[in-house]
Assembly symmetry: C2
C-alpha cells in the first residue's frame, strides 16, 4: 500500500492506494472518530460488484451503514438524485457526526460529495473511487457538485474528504470503455505538469490498457501525487489549480450539449484536450510535433480526438462555454500549453478558432 | 446609521442598520470589489414594495441585476425553488465574481444564501433583510439552507454574507403577524443572553409592536450585537452557538409536521420556547416565576404559547425531533435555561415530559 498525503492543514487527508484495500475501509474510517451511522452512496453497477464487501467492512468495524443506490451515469448527476439521497439519509437518521462514503466513479463521488457537503450543513465524507478516472483525479481535491441542464458542474462546493481509499483491484471489473476514458485525465497530467509521465505513457500505454498491475500502481500513484501537490497549493482555484482544467472548457460544453448522455467525461475532454493543443500551437507556441504527440496518444488510447458539429450544435456549444466557471467579464478563458509538461491559464481565445480546431482542419 | 461588525477574520463583515439605507445598497456593494452581474432573489410580496428600489440602487452603482422572484412563505423554501433560481442565474450568466442579493425575510435569506453558497461552488452573497425576524436573526451568521419534507433546514451550508444591510424603513410595510413573529427571536436573545434586554422588552413591548422607531432601532441593534458576538466566537456551532437554538428543537419539529404551512417560524419557536422554559423549571432550576414571565411576554406579543396534539401528531413530532441537527447518538439535545439571561446546552430530555409541557399542564 502506498500513502499520498494531500497537504491542506487541518483539512489535509491521506490517499491510500493499493490492492485488497476495500476490506480495510472500516478500520481506516474507525480512526477518524466519526459517529456510528453512515451511508454508502453508489450506483447500480458498482453496488453489484462491491456494495456488499463495502457494507461488511464498515459493519465489522462497528458502523451502521445504509446502502444508497443511484442510477449509473452522468445523466443521474442532478438535483433530483441529490434530493433522493437526502431523503434516504433522513430515513437512516444520519447525524452531524455521521459520514457518507462515495463508492464508485466520478459521477458518484461528485454527487455523494455534494450530498455530504450540504446534508445537516455538512457531514463526514470518505471517497472510495472504483474507476481509473476517479482514482487519478475526481476523488482527490474536494470539488463536488452536480450538473444543471445549462451546464456541467454548475452547482457544487469545495468539500474535502476525510480520506480516499483507492483499491486497484476494483479496476479489474471496470468496463474497457471506462478504463480508456480514465486515461484521458492521466494524459492530461503529462501535458500540464509532467513531461516524464507523458513519455512513460507513450511507452507503456498498452500495458496500462491491459491493466498491468505494476504500471497501473505506479501511474495512479504519480497522478495522485500531482493532484495532491496542485490542490495543496491552491485549494479553491484562485490560481494554479486552474491548470487541471486543460481541455475541460470544450469538454464540459460537449457534455452539456449532448445532455450528458453521449460522451463519458474522459471522452469529452479527450476531444477538448486535442482542440486545446491545436489552439496552443496557434496562440502559445506549442510545437506542431507536440500537438501530434498529444493527438496520437489519445488516439492510441481509443479516445475520440475530433468532432464535427452542425451550425446549431456550434451555437449551443458556444452558449455552453459562456457558462463555464472560468468565464470572466463575459470572456471564456482557456488553459493552453507552451510545451508538453507546461501550461498557462486565463487565455482568451477568439471563438472562430474553436470550431476550426474541433474538426481537426 | 449604526454599524455592527461580525468578527470572523477574513470572512468578517459589517451589518449596516438604519433608515433610508436601501437606496445606498449599490454604493455599499461597490466597495466589495465584485463583478458586474448580480441577481436579487426576493419573494412576490417584497418584490412589490422594494424590488424596483433595490434594482435601481444596484444599477445606479454600475451593476447589472436580474430580479428573481420566488413564491412567499416557508413552503417555497425547498430544492425545487433552489433549482429554479439556479436556472435563472445561468440564464443571466452569473460568473464566479458575481453576487446574489437576498431581499426579504428569513425564508428568502436562507434560500438565496444556499443558492449563493452552491452556484459555481460559491458566489458573493449580500443580505438585505426586510422583516424583523431576518434583521435581528436570520440574516446574520451564515446559516443558509432549505427544508426537506422530513425536517426543517436539513440541507444547507455555513456561508457568510459579505455585508448585511438592514433598512428599518422596510418594517413599515411588514404585516402585523410577521412583526409579532419577529419578536419571538428578540425575546429569545433576552432569555439566552441578556436579562436587561428581557426587562426592556417587558417594559417596551407595546412600543415595539407599534413600530416606535427609537425602540426598534435600539432593540434590533442590540440583537445584532448579541448574534455577532456569539457567531464570532463559534461560527460553525461546535459549542456556544447552540444557545441560539433555544426553543428551536420543538419549534422546527412543529413546522415540519404541519408541512411548513401553519406556523410562521416565530410562532413555532414561541411555543417551543415556552415549552423549553417549562422543561427548564423541571430540569435546570429555572424559577417558576421566570417561566411565567417568559410565557406572559410571548402571550403579550400575540404569539401562541401552547399546542394540543393528538396521538398521531405526538408521534410525528417526536419522529421530527429525532431528525434535529443536534441529535447525538440517537438522543435529542435541548437548550435549557437556568435563569432569564443564561442557558445551558446539550441537555437530554425524557420524551414523556415533552407532551406535558406543550399542552401547558
Amino acid at each position: 500500500m502506498r500513502v499520498v498525503k494531500v497537504p491542506l492543514g487541518d483539512r489535509g487527508y491521506p490517499i491510500f492506494l493499493g490492492s485488497g484495500l476495500l476490506s480495510r475501509l472500516g478500520t481506516h474510517c474507525r480512526r477518524l472518530g466519526l459517529g456510528t451511522r453512515c451511508a454508502v452512496i453508489t450506483d447500480r453497477n458498482v453496488a453489484r460488484h462491491y456494495g456488499q464487501a463495502t457494507g461488511r467492512s464498515l459493519a465489522l468495524a462497528g458502523f451502521d451503514p445504509a446502502l444508497v443506490t443511484v442510477p449509473a451515469g452522468e445523466t443521474a448527476k442532478n438535483l433530483r438524485t441529490v434530493e433522493k439521497c437526502y431523503d434516504r439519509l433522513a430515513a437512516h437518521r444520519l447525524e452531524r457526526r455521521s459520514f457518507v462514503v462515495a463508492l464508485g466513479g466520478g459521477v458518484v463521488g461528485d454527487l455523494a460529495g455534494f450530498v455530504a457537503a450540504t446534508y445537516l450543513r455538512g457531514v463526514g465524507f470518505v471517497q472510495v473511487p472504483t474507476t481509473l478516472l476517479a482514482q487519478v483525479d475526481s476523488s482527490v481535491g474536494g470539488k463536488v457538485g452536480v450538473n444543471l441542464a445549462a451546464g456541467k458542474n454548475l452547482v457544487g462546493a469545495f468539500y474535502q474528504p476525510r480520506l480516499v481509499l483507492a483499491d486497484l483491484d476494483t479496476l479489474r471489473t471496470l468496463p474497457d470503455r471506462e478504463l480508456r476514458a480514465g486515461t484521458a485525465e492521466i494524459i492530461k497530467y503529462g501535458v500540464i505538469y509532467d513531461a516524464a509521465l507523458f513519455r512513460r505513457l507513450e511507452r507503456d500505454l498498452l500495458k496500462l490498457l491491459r491493466r498491468d498491475p505494476g504500471v497501473l500502481a505506479a501511474v495512479v500513484a504519480r497522478c495522485c501525487e500531482i493532484k495532491a501537490d496542485v490542490v495543496g497549493r491552491d485549494e479553491t482555484e484562485s490560481g494554479l489549480r486552474a491548470i487541471l482544467n486543460f481541455g475541460h472548457t470544450i469538454g464540459h460544453a460537449l457534455e452539456a450539449i449532448s445532455r450528458y448522455g453521449r460522451f463519458l467525461h474522459g471522452e469529452a475532454i479527450a476531444i477538448g484536450q486535442v482542440a486545446a493543443a491545436r489552439l496552443s500551437a496557434q496562440l502559445t507556441g506549442l510545437p506542431e510535433p507536440d500537438v501530434e504527440r498529444v493527438r496520437t496518444l489519445f488516439h492510441r488510447a481509443g479516445l475520440p480526438t475530433e468532432i464535427r458539429l452542425n451550425a446549431r450544435q456550434r451555437h449551443r456549444l458556444s452558449a455552453a462555454m459562456r457558462l463555464d466557471k472560468k468565464v470572466q467579464g463575459g470572456e471564456v478563458r482557456f488553459v493552453l500549453a507552451e510545451r508538453v509538461g507546461r501550461v498557462v491559464t486565463g487565455r482568451a481565445v477568439p471563438e472562430t478558432l474553436i470550431d476550426q480546431v474541433l474538426t481537426g482542419r
